[in-house]
Symmetry: C2
DNA sequence: CGTCCGTTTGATCTGTGTCAATCGCTGTGG
DNA sequence: CCACAGCGATTGACACAGATCAAACGGACG
């Protein structure tokens, strides 16, 4: 056995704040004011029934860099993201890293039959999540079948999205992957009340690289290529404007 | 704009038998004798209730090479595979192809909220599927909430599996991808009553290449490398023996 | 026996990974 | 206030894994 890791992943595994927990448990602040209720599985329940959710759920505030769940750790809770952005990470023994996705308000964490978490979930920005102990969630589903329908619908959406990523990773070049990624992010941020034509990139280049199966250098070069082609413009490295949407779509291979 | 397709896909898009329909509609032959009932979502219903499934479902026999569903076509039915193997294909305008997955008995086709099929589904071998018109399936779910639970569980399993593929495509080398793919196939065939240590490969090298994001040449070379390393042995190009499981697992990057 | 198609193998080429240096911002300490 | 350290991002030079091009092989079928 003389095979070495073929595809280098981002070096210096970004340790998520060793020691510091960075998580504050809070009482649930109520579904009424929740900015992402309309996006979340919670929307399956009528407003008149949200008190059942509030009873079952806790709330958790996470400082940027903190870990919400550990790959391989026992799955006790499921979550709905309320504020901020998190990443879903899988790590290989030799250090190769995959960012399987970025989680935004309304996204559900816990579509898995496994008894352990399959990914480490880390807060990229300061974030807030609703916490549901799994037994409580099970009881809620039994009591409200429409909740389970809502979960199935959202799981299907995520399946569709994940399969779309397969095409990116399997058959698209670096610039196409990046363009596709930006369009996807833009759409998700727009649904959450963001300005169309503008994308926030709170994650690092390493996160993007490990999400798109590239290196940080190639990601950077692809950014500048899109910029040179006039498809995007930078305000700073973490915030871009989609100057020419059609060009960006063309760069994404439609 | 002078960008050309960066990653060549398999040439000569394998047209699925133009003209010939190759599909025979059959009366439902009954859930009792169904070899894949224990694997399918149908298992969520007790044997005493299967008559409701039989009433709602039809059966469809597909000759190898026939198309069950067209990407972009209206989603009218959902399916459960009963016999054979099918592929889930997405095609780009420039000919690049993705095989998003291989479908085997017990697999469900229809986890999507979209009004159109997101993939073309083609029979690789002669196959049989159960057909459920979507309204009938909806009614069944309302009547049997445990059916919807079963669907959610299976959708979650598929999500887990698809996310595992992300790691393959994003961060694994050709031999690792192939080894991982073979291990996955072996396990699925074992669950369906196959001999452990043996894998049937009814699909072509092009299918495998488009599934793993490689070219047929690289797939072929990776096969011979695994053979030279003593991990696998060929009886013929479409059937292999897993001679050294631990070696294969090592080749897959654990 | 000859054609066709899928597969394998060999010879090159190129895009992207790798290695390395620089830039620019932020925060810290003198 | 400035100097400096540290980190993320960008840019450049080079090497190599895997794509591309090309040819040969082998079984299926007429």
């Amino acid at each position: 056995m003389q095979t070495k890791p073929p595809l280098r992943s981002t070096p210096s595994a970004p340790v998520a704040r060793p020691g510091a927990t960075g998580a504050r448990r809070l009482p649930h602040s109520g579904c009424d004011g929740c900015l992402s209720r309309h996006l979340a599985v919670c929307a399956a329940l009528p407003a008149s029934e949200t008190h059942a959710l509030e009873e079952a759920a806790g709330e958790l505030a996470l400082a940027a860099g903190t870990t919400l769940a550990h790959e391989g750790g026992p799955r006790r809770d499921v979550y709905t993201v309320t504020r901020g952005m998190l990443r879903r990470v899988r790590l290989l023994a030799d250090g190769r890293r995959l960012v399987a996705g970025f989680l935004m308000p309304g996204d559900f964490i816990g579509f898995s039959g496994a008894a352990q978490y399959r990914h480490t979930i880390e807060a990229i920005t300061d974030s807030v999540v609703c916490v549901f102990p799994m037994p409580a969630m099970r009881r809620l589903c039994e009591r409200f079948p429409e909740l389970e329908s809502g979960m199935l619908a959202q799981a299907c959406d995520e399946l569709d999205a994940t399969r779309a990523s397969l095409m990116l990773l399997a058959r698209m070049g670096p610039a196409e992957r990046l363009a596709g990624f930006l369009l996807d992010l833009a759409e998700r941020q727009r649904l959450r009340g963001g300005v169309a034509q503008h994308v926030d990139l709170p994650m690092t280049r390493a996160d993007i690289a490990d999400h798109l199966g590239l290196t940080i250098e190639t990601v950077s070069r692809s950014f500048t290529r899109l910029r040179q082609d006039g498809a995007i413009a930078f305000t700073d490295p973490r915030a871009i404007d989609l100057v020419d949407l059609p060009a960006l779509r063309r760069a994404a291979g439609l």
